[in-house]
Symmetry: C2
Subunit: 461 residues, 2 copies
Amino acid sequence: MSHEQFLDELISTLGADVAQRGADVPERYHTDWSGTPPQRPLALVRPRSTQEVSAVLRLCTAHKVAVVPQGGLTGLAGAAVPSQGAIALSLERMNTIESTDTRAGLMQVQAGVTLQAVQEAAVAAGMVFGVDLGARGSCQIGGNVATNAGGNGVLQHGMMREQLLGLEAVLADGTVLPMLRPMIKNNTGYDLKQFFIGAEGTLGVVTRVLLRLRPAPQATATTLVAMPDFDAALAVLKRMQSRFGNSVAAYELMWDSFVQASLSWLKLGAPFAESHPLLALINVDGKNESQLQGDVQQVLEEAMEAGEVLDAIVAQSVAQAQTLWKLREAPAELNNNMHPAINFDVSLPQADIGRFAQACEAAFSARWPGKHALYFGHVGDGNLHVSVDGKTVGGECEAVEAELYRLVGEFQGSVSAEHGIGLHKKPYLQASRTPQELAVMRSIKQALDPLGLMNPGKVFD
Amino acid sequence: MSHEQFLDELISTLGADVAQRGADVPERYHTDWSGTPPQRPLALVRPRSTQEVSAVLRLCTAHKVAVVPQGGLTGLAGAAVPSQGAIALSLERMNTIESTDTRAGLMQVQAGVTLQAVQEAAVAAGMVFGVDLGARGSCQIGGNVATNAGGNGVLQHGMMREQLLGLEAVLADGTVLPMLRPMIKNNTGYDLKQFFIGAEGTLGVVTRVLLRLRPAPQATATTLVAMPDFDAALAVLKRMQSRFGNSVAAYELMWDSFVQASLSWLKLGAPFAESHPLLALINVDGKNESQLQGDVQQVLEEAMEAGEVLDAIVAQSVAQAQTLWKLREAPAELNNNMHPAINFDVSLPQADIGRFAQACEAAFSARWPGKHALYFGHVGDGNLHVSVDGKTVGGECEAVEAELYRLVGEFQGSVSAEHGIGLHKKPYLQASRTPQELAVMRSIKQALDPLGLMNPGKVFD
């Protein structure tokens, strides 16, 4: 059966408003933030309801046409980049917040709602949503689910997997699985929703999500802390957690290379008179703002006496806290300043992260003299990000990747902490999974998507 | 191929110490706490290592013999009861705590370690483990994983699914999946360990678990609170959570019928001069014991002024707290006093639990005049337990079940919150899952266990 026939049927079924032929598809749907070379999809569909998603998938199954689900297109592993001959299925029109129940702490949304819209709606309801990441204004909840997103809130609340009670997904054949029961405890057979979290759209399309909201903290203290080395950074984290427990809401570590890039790209004023090897942005939740600031100050003074802290700023207002947090926003400018940026997102045993960063720096310098890499990350979760300037290493992106992933193997880490595998990390998946695990993944894929139509060529071949 | 030949091969491969013929299998392996009629297994194997588990499963696959994994045999849904012609695979000898890492908050154990042994080892290391339930002295971690156990700690820490970073499982064909990487974040393909949590042994045998430990609270206040009705109980819970946040570690509600049973079966002294409609056992964690007790006292006084609390005891010592908690231990005596006990474990929208209990009481009284049922549960999680005395309803167990599950459907609840489906709730699984979901469960089962040898006839047929 020809593609032409499929396209005719697609447009006549869904309408020209929902379905567009490839030639008419705007370029923004051709790739994502990963820098993958653009690929025009066979068609773009932008359904408005689960029923329309189901209709699209039924048609695709009938015509054996592949489907690439698209959210906010902010992924860094290329999972949402169209593959040849596949249609792109954008969830962007399914952007309704369907219900908010503050008593039960639940919010039901369609998958195309942006993370920021969810955060704002939660705050408007007097609560908070536990996931936060830099792409919040563009990324969509469905994509957050499909990649099991992490970000700045994991230390306190866990990953996306822990932020939802249910989801609705549509399988390749159009079957709708409405797993949206609003219950914390529901041990009735296999917990199918788990299969779709982190599957990067290869098992089905997430269309609705039942999110958990958290009580809003009454006060938050923000501090920016300068430290001499990684062991000091870890000691400060432990000191904070020992004093404030699970109220330590964020602990973001930035190596000086990253801080300098942020200051320059974002045209920010330097926070300290001199530069320091490491800065940490720390949020602590509590009840009373001035008391909390005092308590944080006290812990910092103890840490300073112990030689762990060189300098520190405790924000005295929300505005000052926001200014401090701007320092962490360099990643949004990576593609403008380090093109092509080679981005890494690795998990490591927490205690080894400092040595790992040193080993990377040594390996890169040996081969490509000079400074090319920024180091930063969610160190409280054992998660380090590294961004390398592809230009300054003579375009040898694959050699950079091989070098870094070799070190990840040596340190017994994971090649993807929170960004997923997508297209770009497929060659390295076997570094984090055994052949037996990969075989089971393939059998699950075969069970749920026997024709191999859901996001083919992503995660594994 | 005959069973005799299989048994000869099993014993010659594993040794007579590990493998016993059915005729030699002690009765305690014939059934579990669910009260299911005993069934002698074809053989009992008690492997000492993952390698031996794998060898057993390879042999079973070669001979097409079914396998029923057994932990502490404390399940209330019958998932560990042998099925005819199947061997029983007990994990009881795999009871080693392999490593404890207090810095990372991790403990790796074999699946046959009892929950209590894990709890005690965590405390010895200055931390706590987040799962606690009445069968702690007998139930095993592998069974806790296989049933996604809940219990008294869910309010603060979540279910068993949230208490582990990794697990090792063996598939029906003997394949070992060593998913034990000690990382919080590891988004590398499908998170296969999720598939085995709550699958009740129907997809494979859990052999090792990498558990998360939590920091030990510096102080805990325990209070027993008497309340006039369910709405008051909910108001007190909200009041406590609003004051103490996630430090409210337990909130166990007991209806008077349950309290009277506990007092009588366990020969305890009545905590209050008169009986009250509802009692709640509440634990709150904090830093300083006397200050915490004062804070709890203050909240209780406010609640008393608001008419939510009728009377209360704040424990002044660990010993007094333990005495108060004894009230919650009646379930261990159910089989001695209500034989056969018909046990329910349902999830409901939290706000409706009081009305649900009333509706059950009305429905039971209409058909079987008199009092037959105890009501208690983890109300903070929306989870209610009901135990009915099978004798006093004239042995009409199925009619009691049909009546209660009809009401669960009416209230849009779940037929199993934390006990699983096993054998006993199979007829009611469809009340909580759609036909489409059940079809997907079957396709997953087919993918991982194509010969249908893993715990056949459990969860679904």
